[in-house]
């Protein structure tokens, strides 16, 4: 059976659609709101803002987090900033320009209406966060400061030093704390969602594991919002936090929610490279460094001299060579692929030969060290702390790393999945970034979804489908809860029952290696087909040889990780399947068969201007591909060139 994929895009001209939708949204009377319970899973920018905003309206909200506190969600690690179309700089910005940049940046693989709404909400976000006390950077006159980001031609990025994500998340956290004090929000820490409960086709609750006691619990609600982030950790090494995972989204997918564009992943070019096999995660170095740093590798693959002693004639500034007009400031996907190409050809540097130089020598000579320190001092310090190299004296070594995932659960315009009552917010959904996300857009989307869309969308759903009387409600004694709880218990027991020899991280690293090699920065048919053979073999080995020590009725971090890796071993296969089916190159998805003679991405709008929405059809059965066509009424898709 095919999925029902009605995007429910409102009628009217693009700029009026959101206004029209807000008016047609049904409302719930203030006195009746406390009769509805909403579960929010996750407390990053999307989940935290949704939990606070829904609780402010008077709904009973319960917010589940696997951390010890909602303040730890991975949104906290975002460095650079948040975009808004305020045009405070008088440099030509507008809602339409932010919309246009974002949809073009996504290589025309997102919905126009969603992206326009995101641009409209961007200004409200800044207003609200300032009112909450978020300490954005200011100019001497007391006005908000802006900076340029991600190669944009204007300054629309608001920031709080290098800690913008942290400060926005603490704004959410404080708004949540206020609602906890008011009694309308309950935060449930150290509990991980392990299943979605669907009753008569509607999302009616979750099954969660108490990570301290191991108890498997049932939680019923009138609607469920998933804000559980992206799946970048499927690659094992990424810039994501160690706990970030696909489990909640994947289990909702197995209960019927379509998964859209799983192969759209963003590989960020400037990360600190892998140093050894025991490395557990990668660290991003802000993209702004490419303003003053030059990227190069030695012309001789066997170069033995330290980088500072390699003369100009023996250096290959490959970005400047290949892209003379954009040079070191080509977009993320292009820069990443070019670095990979040099390393694959044997020109990489460092012990592993898997990195390239990012050199500030010329800028330091031109501007002086104090100027460079003023611009990037904290980043240089962080780099030195991790690598023990001083970037003022020797070039940084960088390599691309998995950073963000544009794919996610399919949602309609109201951010509701094809399972009614299941809303998906932030990075967990697929909605706004197409095939490539622009810098400083992730924070914007999370907060737009949570503060300014969820209150309308959830309210409209509850006014339409909600049951106010207690006796009409679905309780945790319903058979669907019992069945979901049983399946979670069986899954946990199965993991513990393997009793093999190999620790869980070994499987995770091997899966990550397969995906990085075959479904990473560049993909091709042979490699993807090979991955589709290797992943099921690895999965079978996992279920034969996994070793977990410790019980399930206690705090057991290995058991938590094993559950997440088991899901990655299924999800990774879907990613490769999606990458294989998409016979074009667009954004972060580069199929080697589909490139121009100069090695650039070749998009195929005639055949692939759609969101690929995968449908789970049971264990062992191949998933089905459904398509939501993308219709462009306002912008005309064009080719991106950076020569």
């Amino acid at each position: 059976m095919a999925l029902q994929l009605d995007a429910r895009i409102p009628a009217g001209p693009l700029a009026d659609k959101w206004t029209n939708r807000k008016f047609t949204s049904k409302l719930v009377n203030p006195a009746n709101r406390r009769k509805f319970k909403v579960i929010v899973v996750g407390a990053g920018l999307a989940g935290g803002s949704a939990a606070a905003a829904l609780a402010e309206l008077g709904y009973q909200v319960e917010c589940f987090v696997f951390h010890d506190s909602p303040r730890r969600a991975h949104s906290i690690a975002a460095q650079g900033g948040i975009n808004a179309a305020k045009n405070y700089k008088n440099d030509g910005d507008s809602v339409h320009r932010l919309f246009y940049d974002t949809i073009k940046g996504g290589d025309y693989r997102a919905r126009e209406a969603n992206v326009h709404r995101l641009a409209e909400n961007s200004n409200l976000i800044i207003d609200h966060c300032v009112a909450q006390g978020v300490p954005f950077a200011r100019e001497y006159g007391g006005l908000l400061d802006n900076r340029s980001f991600g190669g944009a031609q204007l300054s629309r990025t608001f920031y709080a030093r290098g800690q913008t994500g942290q400060q926005l998340l603490l704004g959410c956290y404080q708004a949540m704390a206020r609602m906890v004090a008011a009694g309308s929000l309950k935060v449930v820490p150290r509990k991980e969602m392990l299943d979605l409960v669907v009753v008569d086709g509607h999302a009616r609750g979750i099954i969660a594991r108490d990570l301290t006691t191991g108890a498997i619990e049932r939680h019923a609600a009138d609607a469920v919002c998933l804000a559980t982030g992206g799946y970048g950790n499927v690659f094992y090494l990424s810039t994501n936090a160690k706990g970030s995972n696909v489990t909640a989204a994947w289990r909702a997918h197995k209960r019927g929610a379509g998964f859209a564009n799983p192969c759209f992943t963003q590989i960020h070019p400037t990360c600190i490279p892998v140093s050894s096999g025991h490395q557990s995660k990668l660290t991003l170095m802000s993209e702004s460094l490419r303003n003053d740093g030059r990227v190069w590798v030695p012309k001789n693959p066997d170069e033995k001299r330290p980088p500072a002693q390699v003369p100009e004639a023996d250096r290959d500034y490959f970005l400047e060579r290949r892209y003379p007009s954009f040079g070191n400031l080509v977009p993320r996907d292009v820069a990443s692929r070019a670095a990979k190409e040099r390393c694959d050809a044997g020109f990489g540097v460092g012990g592993t030969k898997l990195s390239v130089y990012l050199d500030f020598r010329d800028s330091i000579q031109r501007l002086g060290q104090p100027v460079i320190a003023g611009r990037y001092g904290n980043l240089f310090q962080m780099y030195q702390k991790i690598t023990a190299d001083d970037p003022y004296q020797t070039p940084m070594r960088i390599y691309p790393a998995v950073h963000y995932t544009m794919g996610g659960l399919w949602v309609d315009y109201d951010l509701m999945s094809n399972v009614p009552g299941l809303f998906v917010l932030g990075e967990a959904n697929f909605s706004d970034h197409g095939a490539n996300r622009l810098g400083a857009s992730a924070l914007m989307q999370g907060l737009s979804d949570g503060y300014f869309i969820a209150p309308y969308a959830v309210g409209d759903y509850l006014a339409t489908h909600g049951k106010m009387e207690a006796k009409q409600k679905v309780g945790t004694d319903h058979a669907a809860f019992a069945a979901a709880e049983k399946s979670v218990q069986e899954h946990v027991a199965r993991l513990r029952g393997v009793q093999g020899k190999t620790p869980v991280d070994v499987f995770h690293r091997r899966l990550g290696k397969i995906l990085w090699d075959r479904c990473g920065m560049a993909r091709n048919r042979a490699g993807l087909e090979q991955a589709l053979r290797e992943i099921p073999e690895l999965r079978a080995e996992f279920w034969k040889d996994l070793r977990i020590v410790g019980g399930d009725g206690e705090f057991n971090q290995d058991l938590e990780r094993a559950g997440r890796v088991a899901d990655y071993l299924e999800f990774g296969e879907l990613m490769c399947r999606d990458a294989l089916a998409r016979e074009e190159s667009c954004g972060g998805h580069f199929r080697e068969e589909h490139q121009t003679p100069e090695g650039e991405a070749r998009r195929d709008d005639e055949n692939f201007a759609y969101a690929a929405v995968w449908e789970h059809r049971g264990e062992g059965a191949a998933p089905a591909l459904n398509k939501e066509p993308l219709v462009f009424e306002t912008v005309k898709p064009s080719t991106r060139s950076y020569k």
């Binding site: 730890r72 991975h74 300490p135 006005l143 908000l144 820490p189 706990g243």
Partner: protein
């Protein structure tokens, strides 16, 4: 360092649950690279333990880039290992000597009960913020951001205090187990901004009251908290908190 890499002797606090007795156990960590982070060293020790059928060491961690505030361990008696402005996840093995004995324990404070091994319960911090560490503003009701001017020095001072990651190192470092630096950082952040003024004094009263109720000790100006803080928050914020608290006590009670 031998060709097989660094080795250290790890003495780790093992405790199965909140109500169970704990003790230090000794493990040998071998084949380490100086480029490993401290937590990657623990990952390796855990993998070796699992291979031997021993339950791995539980520890809180997430972002591993010094911003989420999850990691919470005393390394050789100092919170986060004592390197200035550094969380445990940013500590690297190159800071240790080959063959060194390294002791690892959880935060020690009665307001942070041990959950398991190196994991503690820091929910007291959440309850202190819930007592008043926020600005009461509903979503959707804000005026344009530029209607409110904030002098740069005030915004910078607010940001200095707001950099707190809520890890609890200040409490662990304090001989009294006081949470004053954490509470004062939040008070100072909001007190430096015009948005924080209407609730300013009440906020100080309520947060301090909750801090006392959670069982944190009093501040007696040792300033160990500032030395341990991975975000280098100044004890100057404690003086600001004391001023706000005093004013509120005199005028608002």
């Amino acid at each position: 360092m031998s060709k097989d890499g660094m080795r250290i002797t790890l003495r780790v606090w093992r405790q199965k649950g909140p109500d169970q007795p704990g003790k230090m156990e000794t493990y040998l960590a071998e084949g380490l690279s100086p480029d490993m982070s401290f937590l990657e060293m623990l990952d390796k020790v855990n993998e070796d333990l699992v291979a031997r059928g021993v339950e791995p060491i539980a520890f809180d961690h997430d972002c591993r880039e010094g911003i989420c505030g999850s990691c919470s361990m005393m390394v050789n008696g100092l919170p986060h290992g004592g390197e200035r402005g550094t969380t445990t996840c940013q500590l690297h093995m190159r800071s240790f000597r080959d063959g060194q004995v390294v002791a690892v324990e959880p935060w020690r404070a009665s307001a942070f009960p041990v959950v398991r091994d190196l994991v503690v319960d820091r929910s007291a911090f959440d309850r202190i913020v819930e007592a008043g560490g926020f600005v009461s503003v509903n979503t959707g009701s804000a005026p344009d951001a530029h209607t409110l001017l904030v002098p740069k020095r005030d915004a910078d001072a607010a940001m200095d205090a707001a950099a707190c990651i809520g890890c609890g190192a200040c409490v662990a470092a304090c001989p009294n187990g006081s949470a004053m630096l954490f509470v004062a950082a939040k008070i100072s952040h909001l007190a430096h901004l015009p948005q924080g003024q209407p609730e300013r004094r009440n906020r100080a009263l309520k947060m301090v009251k909750q801090m006392d109720a959670e069982g944190f000790g009093a501040c007696s100006n040792h300033f160990e908290c500032e030395a341990a803080c991975p975000k280098e928050i100044s004890v100057g914020v404690i003086a600001e908190l004391n001023r706000d608290y005093l004013r509120a006590s005199v005028f608002d009670v």
